[in-house]
Each structure stands twice: as C-alpha cells, then as structure tokens.
Symmetry: C2
Subunit: 623 residues, 2 copies
C-alpha cells in the first residue's frame, strides 16, 4: 500500500473553501465525515468522500481540513491502515488514546479567532452537529452548513450515484404488506401524537415498502427517502426504476386506491424542499417524527418546537421483530448457507494439505458454493478469510499483499455471509486442518463455552442484550483472557447484516429490550496477536423459554440457533466442558445432521453429507 | 397510620408564596425536594421539609404545591405508604407508571401562562435545575430560585440543625493524613488544570479531613463544606466543635504551618458568599471543580465558563479505594459484627420457639450484641428485621403496626449493619428456625448460587460493576425467577453504608470501573409477595486475582468476602449446587470458623462458638 498523494487535492479544496461560488463566506475549516446522507454503515462509491480526499478508506474516520492542517480521526482498528494510506499532508488522530484531542478541541486549538467551520448539512447527523456547534460557539467560532458538498466540487471523476433496478418482495417473504406496515406506523404516530414521520435510513425505506435494491454493496437497499403523513405517502426516489411494471404493480401506483394509500413519487433531491414545506405548514401541536441520527439538514427543515426525535424509530423497532414469514425465510437461508459451508469445508479439508489454497481462494470458493444456492443475491459483507496471525486482525479482509496460504499448521478463521432473497446470513467458524495444539484447543473451548452460555441463556422478557454480554466472557475471564469486541449485533431479514436496535455488548448503548422474534448474532472470540484468531458465531433467534416458575408473570426468553454449521469437535477439549455444555454441542450437531443433512441429501451433495456426518459425531461422555 | 392534616399548612405556604417578605415576585408553584443542601441520601430532621409539608416520610419523593394543587411524586416502593400518610389535599403521582406525568409536564399542564416556579436553590442539584428550567422556559414559565426556604418560613417548631461534637481519626484508622489527602487532591486538580475544588458532599468533607460526626443518623458525618485552592484550605463549619482541643490539634489549627496547609475555619452559612468571591476573582482559564450534583446555588456562584463539573469528584473516587489501614479496619469491624450475629442467631434459635420474639425485639437484640463490641458507634442503617410475608417488602422496617412474631414456620430475613470506629458493616442473612419447605430451600439455593457467582467471579481490571450483575441472576433466570433491585453498592469505611462511584446493578449508571481496594456489597435475593423474602448479603473487597494467563497484561480482579457470618446450610438444597459452589460454601465456612471462631474464643463467648461450629459443618459431597 502506498499512500495517496493529496497535495494538489488539498490545495484545490482550500481554494473552494474560500470560493464564493461554493460558500457564502470563506470557511477556515471543512469537516469530511464518513457517512452518506442516510447515515449508512456501508456507503456507495460516490459517497466515499473522506477516502477520496485522504486516501484512507477504512469504514470509520473523519477528516478535517483547515488552511494549515489536514487531520484524520479514526479508531484503533485502523491506526496502521490509515498511516499507510495517507501521505505526509495528514496528521493521524488516534481516537481512544488519552492525549488525542477531540475534533472540537483540536479545532479550537488551531483556528484563528472567530472562524467558520463548514460541513455538509446532509452528511452530519443532527446530534453530532449540536455537540460540535456548542463547543465551537463557546470558543467563539461558528459551525456553518455548506450546501454544496466541497469534495464533490473538486471530485471531477466522482462516480455517479447508483440507481439500480428494484426487487419487489411478496407476502411469502415479508409476511406483512406495505399497506399494513403503513397502517401500523400511523397507529404508532397517533399514539405519540405526531402527524408526520420522516424515513431517512435506507433499510427502513426498503423494509417499509417491501422493496430491495442494490445501490450499496452487501446491503440490498436503494437511495430513497419517505415522508409518511396521516393521509399521505411520499416516496423520494430517482431513475426510471419507478417505470418497472412490477414495481408499479407492487406499489399500486396505477390503481384506484383510497387516497391515504396513494404513493406520491417525487425526485430524491426534492426531499429538503418538500420537508421545508411540511415544516412551514404545521399547525400548533402538529409534530414531525425523525430519528435523532437524521441529518442536520432534514432536522432543521422542521422548526424546533415541532420536532419529535427518538434514538430508534418505530420502523427500526418493528423491523427488528421478525414475523413468521421472515423467520421461516431466515431458517431457509441459513440451511442453504450451511449446505454451502459444508461443501466448502469438505473441499478445504482435501485441498489445504496441497498448499494451493490462499485466503482469497478460500473466500472465492465460499462465494461460489453460496452462489449455487437458490435465491442467492450477493454476499452480506466482505468475507473475512484469515489464517494464522491474520486471524488475530479482527476486521481482516485478505488482499494480495497480505494473502496467506492455508496450511495444516495454522488455525483458519472464516467469517462470511450472504444475502438470499429469503434471508441474510452471517457465520464464523474456526477450523484446524491438521492437529491443533493443546493451547489452541484450550482457547477454542473457552470461546465455545462463552458461545453456549449466551445461546443457552434464559432471561426475563424485557432484558436488554447488554446484560448478557458477560456470560460470553466468563470462561475466558476465569483464565485471564478476553476479547475486545462486542458479542452480538442485530441481523436484518434480506437487509443489512448489522441493524439496530438490539445487540449484545459490554458497551453501554441505548439498546432496546430483546423480544421474541428478534435476531442477533452470538460471536465471542479470542485473538492472540501475531499467532491466531478464534471466533464462533451463530445467528440466533429470540424465542420464548419454558421455565419452571414465572416471576410476576413476565415470561422468559432464550435463543434458538438459526445457523446450523458444525463446530469443529477436533478443536474442543472435552474435559473443559460441563455435562450441560457437552449436551448442548451434541444436540446442536444432531440438529445440523437432521436439518442440513436432509437438504444435502435433497441436493444430491453426498460427499458434503458424509463430511457433515463425520463432523457431527457426538462428543464422548466426560470421564 | 393516619394521614397528616395539611390544610392549614398548605394555606400558610400559599400565603408565603405571595409574600414579598419571602419572595421577590409571587411564585405560582413551589417545589419541595427530598434532599438537603449536600444532596445526602440520609437527612437530618431539620431537612425533612417534604415530610413536614405532606406527612409522607419515605426516603424519596418530591412535593409540588401550586395555588390550586398539591402533588407528590414517589416511586413504587412508597405508593402505599405515601397514600396512607397524606390527606386528601394531596395527589399521589406514581413514578414509573406510564400515565404519570413528569413534574415539568404536570406543571406546564396546570399553571397559568407566564408562571414562576420557585425552589430553594441550595436543595435542588444543578443538573436537575437545568432540565426543569429548560422545559418550563420552553412552555413560557420561569424556574426561579427562592433564597429563603419557604417551608422553613412556616415551620415554626422546626428542629435545630444538629451540631454534634466531632471525632478525630488518627493514621491507624485512615492510613493517610489529611495533609497527604490535600496534596493528592491538588495533584488531581493540577492534572485537570483547575484552581479550586468545592467539597459539597458530607462524606467527602469527613473523609478529606479524617473527621467524623453524628449530625445525621446512621451516617457519621457533620454539616460542613470545604473549598480547596492550590494554596488555601477553607472549611465551612458551625458551632463550638472547632474549640475542641482534640480537633484543633488534629487540624493543626494552632500550629505554625506552611500557608498552603493552614485551614481557615469559616461559618457554614458563608459558603455562598465566599464562593461568589472566588468566582468573581477568577482569571481567564482558572477553573473551579464541582460535582454535577452540587446545588444550583453553589454551581451558579461560579460563572459558567469557569465551571468544571464531573459526575464523580476526585475525592469520591479516592475514597472508594481503601488503603491497607482502612481495609484492616474493615476486616476487624466485620469480625466483631460476625461475633454479634453469632450471638444473636444462637439466641434466636433458643428463643424463637417460645413465641416471644418479635421483629422489633430481634432488631433490638442485634443492636445490643453489636453495642458490646469494641469501637461500636451506632447502626449503619435502620435494621430490616422481617419474618414471613414482611420479608417480601424489600425496604421493610418493623413498626408496632406491622411487628410480627418470629416462628419456626416462617423464614426470617435480617439485613443490618453498624458503624464501628474502624469500619462500616452491612450484612443480610435469611434463616429458618424450623423446617424449611423444599420450595423455600430451592429459592434460597438459587439466590446462594447467584451470590457465589458474583463473589467468585474473576474479571479484567477496568471492568465496571454493572457487567457483573447478570451473574447474580443467572440461576434464578434459569427457573423463571428474578429480583427487582440491584446486586450491590459501594460501602464506606466508617462512613456512609451506601457510597459511589461503584456498584453492581442492571441499571445502567455511570459507575466507575472496579479496582483493587474498592468495597461493595453482594446481595442477590428473591421475594415472593405475601409469603417470604430471601437475601444473602456479604460485603466484599475487590482484590487482584491470580489467573493462568494475562491478556494484554491487564491483570484480573476478584472479590474477598469481608463479612464472615455462616450461611444457613439447612436452607441449602445441596443437589442444586455444582461441585465448585459446594467447595465455595465449605471454604467460606472454614474461614468463618478460623477467623470468627478465634475471636469468639478470645471474647469467651463459648455458646456462640458452639453455634458457629455447628452451623459451619462442611456440606456433604454431591451424590
């Protein structure tokens, strides 16, 4: 990796920062955040503005350019990568280290008095604007919205915003029609006494209308906004994709409908002016509901007194609780995914000893097997295919410079998943194709104990996921070990592989309580820098639990694994398991045999079936 | 309990709310919070203003009186009590119920336009003022500070503010001199670049100067403030207690000292004017450090730009980590406390069958045995002595109306503790003096499993206590049971029995990470309304743990029980314990024998020693 040369680019940017064609008044600093106008985790190439100006293309980072300086804030995952990708024009600000200033404090320390700090009001979330603006103002500076994005102004070969065809999902996939979703949303709006709801997150628009797209890699979403009133539906979306008869039919655009279900299709770019018109026409007590993560531009369109902001929208919460059709779809997707992985691991077992399988080859092979499955659409994230020391890099993605060959002497970690039309998968397995050392088995077994502790946990209805995080760590903690990431995230149904509002993490965030129908990952790990990485990840469904008693009639919950891929028994030190844990492994493997075995049989994949049967032999009873 | 008749009182209060002698402008509402000017948990009789005006004397509640209404906000623990104690002038606002308005929202709904809402600026914490004031202002009202407390104005027989003699603690108790504490504090101040630190919490003043008092029941504190500068020490305290030669000597008031250690003693009431003088004399960049829970009055004395507010003060954090002298003192106190409880339980075992021991008698007997121990000062909180259904009332305190007789047919729960000059204790034991039912034993055993899970937990340095809370519940959750309170609180060293900044709770609060030397309680429970209550509480010390590995060189921690009182084995269903748990119980009981047995022997308490030996017989091996 050689750094991107940014001298000319920065010069150009500093020119437009003073050019009245782009800014009302010159700005002394310009902030380039990571995100897009929808605060997405994964973004389209045309939104990779921070990577364009700096060269650093990690998933998290904020660039700030002043007349004298260019600085990049990113976190521990990316210190090395950012240092490699950026030239000497840039100062790396290592977030999480004690002496690293915040962006605001740094700005205050370098700016001349009374400076203006510019930012694209569509990219910065309203809550972040508020925080920054307050600090800057108290130091005598001003945070100002710059309507035209200044990176776009100098990015001459900026790729076009994607505008790919849409996929319509019928009731067999979604379980609920978009009309019924609108009805449910309006009832939530009525409860909170709001008249309008603004849908800004891409996966929320997709979920609400039972549509999918492919504008962003790995995430089946499309660029759009929606504004839902008590009697109106406005969908802001570009391109001729609205001319597709299937889409018109799905949205009933040409049918005679009750007016409150008539969808008005408007240009994507008109969201701001339309929202301003809504804002201007509000009567007293008419509120507009927005996510508090929505952009500053859209939030400001509604006068403050009329805003109703929440960390999680009613769509985010409804989307997290999967209905029967979605759950069944997720089950089918996970069975197909397991078939692909049985094929892959059977193939690796034969090929790895030959010394010809690299991390990239293995990742490609995994994709190949997945793509043979029905309704496969694409991967759900960049495959983490890592062997030996690369396994200890938690967000590793093999590239030619780092690509390592799998061998019988090293642990192999594969974290991968796919989008199928009926569901989204995300699974990690850690394998050894030779003979693991006693220490490797010991660490693997602690991770497995943590995985089981979460998966088998029984907890009261209303429990938040963060209260389960320590269960995943307890066996590691007992021996002085740990892992430095959360234990689980919400998973979408043929949608984003990471979604809110629930999760399992030691970090205290405002997670919503777990409820039956939610789907999260369970993925403890252990990483030894320079040696190996271990992670065991299943996607699990929250289900009601039967318990002996029922305190305060609250009911209890537990998890059911949707992922059904064997956990390599060769890596388990059975003597470290309790009888209950051994039983859990055997039950899990029996389920893999029953369910995935039947599908392998049906698909005529006999060699993979033999592999599955061998890998799921019950663990011998404890001595 | 008959309600307090408040008609005349309220009439009188409404008069002074309009009387220019007390208020600059009439106030249309007056808020009476629970606390005192130090935001204490336990308050002196002269500060029980809310109880005076309403009759409701629970530990938490806020009264608001308008021209038309009188309303009381309190939480679920006190709904019944408040309803009994208040007359029909009052509306009970049940906090935590969905339809209960917040104080601010209620005020907005009942007040005429442009109202003034008054509150004593010394009683309301600054953070709460900020929140309320914002909501009221946005609705066109004003929150205004009323300097003279309007309850005091009508409380003709208000008790005097206590002003009891002080106790000086020498190095053998405190381990660190007050001079060294000042030096350490100034170094923290220098780190944060603040010039002044304002000590507002009573236990922080007491800790800093190695003094104790008895102005507030159960809490060995005294009414005082302190303001520490880089070169000055001001102590605001009333009464002739500063004339006590022991105190003068301890504080070196009459010695020739370096000026930066010279304590200026000032009247308690002059804190505001002195702080205003400090505030007026600040040069740019000179900051003043205050707790964000400090009163609005004191916070406002410092111009906003000069304030440095934190949730936990450096004294709060330093105080939480006990040094060797404090730890040894706590050990001694707990051994003496265990001696008293062995005596008590031996006595109860003989007396209960006679049917003459009531909850109050048992509580008094516990106090009697404790008072026989060296350096006993007072109880550390009101004894919870409860049998049968009373045990299910978590904050129960026996009074003649509820006083129940202990019997061989009911579970008895005793949660009690004392202040000794060398340490503070807090212990709960649940006993049966007859034959417990299988169900009672089952529930007790789950609670015990939770207690052990926390006590024996090993966790990385830097872990926050709230991450351990679920360990205490896991065994209960497995059977559909739970308890509706936190698992542990910080404990002071001959100071408040509840102190920050650490704790173990499912509630997400900004707890500081646990570190070696901190002391917390471990007290899971199970409560069955109308039948019984179970709680097992030890005070435990955070200590370094030896582990097989040491991830990232972080080190690990665990707990050592300071409380050494037998856990009734009769109540344990041994078949529900793991081998590890059985071993823990036997080890714990062996320690009780060794340590408390020796002390009983030394004190010649042979009958109690025989009781101890019988109660600490090892549990038989599992079948």
């Amino acid at each position: 990796m050689s750094p991107k040369i940014t001298t000319e680019l920065l010069k150009h940017l500093r020119q437009v920062m003073k050019n009245p064609r782009y800014v009302q008044e010159p700005v002394q600093a310009y902030i380039v955040p990571s995100g897009d106008a929808h605060q997405s985790e994964y973004i389209a190439p045309c939104d990779c503005r921070r990577a364009f100006i700096s060269g650093f293309d990690g998933s998290a980072g904020t660039a700030i350019v002043t007349e004298q300086h260019a600085a990049m804030w990113t976190d521990g995952r990316y210190f090395l990568q950012a240092a490699h990708q950026m030239d000497s024009n840039w100062t790396l600000m290592k977030m999480g280290l004690k002496d690293t200033p915040t962006q605001e404090d740094w700005l205050v320390s370098v700016l001349p008095e009374g400076s203006k700090v510019g930012v694209d009001p569509f990219i910065i979330p309203a809550d972040q604007w508020k925080r920054m603006s307050k600090v800057l103002r108290s130091a005598g500076h001003d945070l100002v919205p710059v309507k035209e994005n200044l990176i776009d102004a100098i990015w001459t070969d900026c790729p076009q915003r994607p505008c790919k065809p849409l996929i319509t999902l019928d009731l067999s996939y979604t379980g609920v029609s978009w009309r019924d979703k609108i009805v449910a949303l309006r009832s939530k709006m009525a409860e909170r006494k709001v008249m309008w709801f603004v849908v800004t997150a891409l996966d929320e628009v997709a979920w609400l209308f039972n549509l999918r797209g492919s504008d962003v890699e790995y995430n089946p979403v499309f660029f759009a906004y929606a504004v839902i009133g008590m009697n109106t539906i406005r969908l802001f979306i570009d391109g001729d994709r609205m001319m597709d008869p299937a889409v018109r039919d799905h949205l009933q655009l040409d049918s005679t409908l009750e007016p409150e279900f008539k969808i008005q299709v408007m240009p994507y770019g008109s969201i701001l002016s339309e929202l301003q018109a809504v804002g201007a026409g509000l009567s007293p007590k008419e509120k507009v509901w927005l996510s508090d993560k929505a952009s500053y531009a859209l939030t400001e369109a509604i006068p403050k007194a009329y805003r109703y902001l929440t960390p999680y929208t009613p769509i985010c919460i409804a989307k997290a609780v999967k209905n029967a059709a979605e759950t069944e779809g997720m089950r089918r997707a996970h069975i197909k995914d397991a078939v692909a992985l049985c094929e892959l691991f059977n193939w690796l077992e034969k090929e790895v000893p030959k010394g010809t399988v690299t991390e990239i080859v293995a990742a490609d092979k995994a994709e190949e097997f997945r793509s043979q499955q029905k309704d496969f659409v694409e991967l759900s994230f960049a495959t983490i295919s890592s062997t030996g020391p690369n396994g200890a890099i938690i967000h590793y993605k093999p590239v030619p410079e780092t690509n390592r060959t799998l061998s019988v002497n090293e642990i192999y970690l594969l974290d991968s998943g796919a989008q199928y039309r009926d569901g989204t998968t995300d699974v990690t397995r850690t394998m050894h194709f030779g003979t693991p050392s006693a220490y490797e088995k010991e660490c693997f077994t602690y991770v497995l104990k943590g995985h089981i502790a979460v998966s088998a946990a029984i907890f009261p209805n209303g429990t938040k996921g963060h209260l389960l995080d320590s269960f995943a760590r307890s066996a590691l903690w007992d021996c002085g070990l740990d892992y430095l990431h959360g234990t689980g995230h919400g998973v979408g149904s043929f949608l984003n592989v990471h979604e809110g509002p629930c999760g399992i993490s030691y970090k205290t965030f405002a997670d919503e309580p777990l409820e039956a129908g939610m789907i999260v990952s369970d993925e403890p790990g252990y990483y030894e820098d320079g040696s190996f990485g271990i992670r065991i990840e299943n996607v699990v469904l929250v289900i009601p639990a039967e318990t002996k008693y029922n305190f305060k009639n609250r009911g209890s919950l537990t998890f059911e694994p949707l992922t059904l891929v064997p956990i390599q028994t060769k890596m388990i030190d059975v003597n470290l398991l309790t009888e209950k844990e051994r039983h859990w492994v055997n039950e899990y493997h029996q389920q893999c045999r029953d369910v995935v075995g039947a599908e392998l049989e049906r698909q005529g994949r006999h060699e993979a079936l033999r592999w599955l049967l061998r890998e799921t032999e019950p663990l011998a009873p404890l001595q």
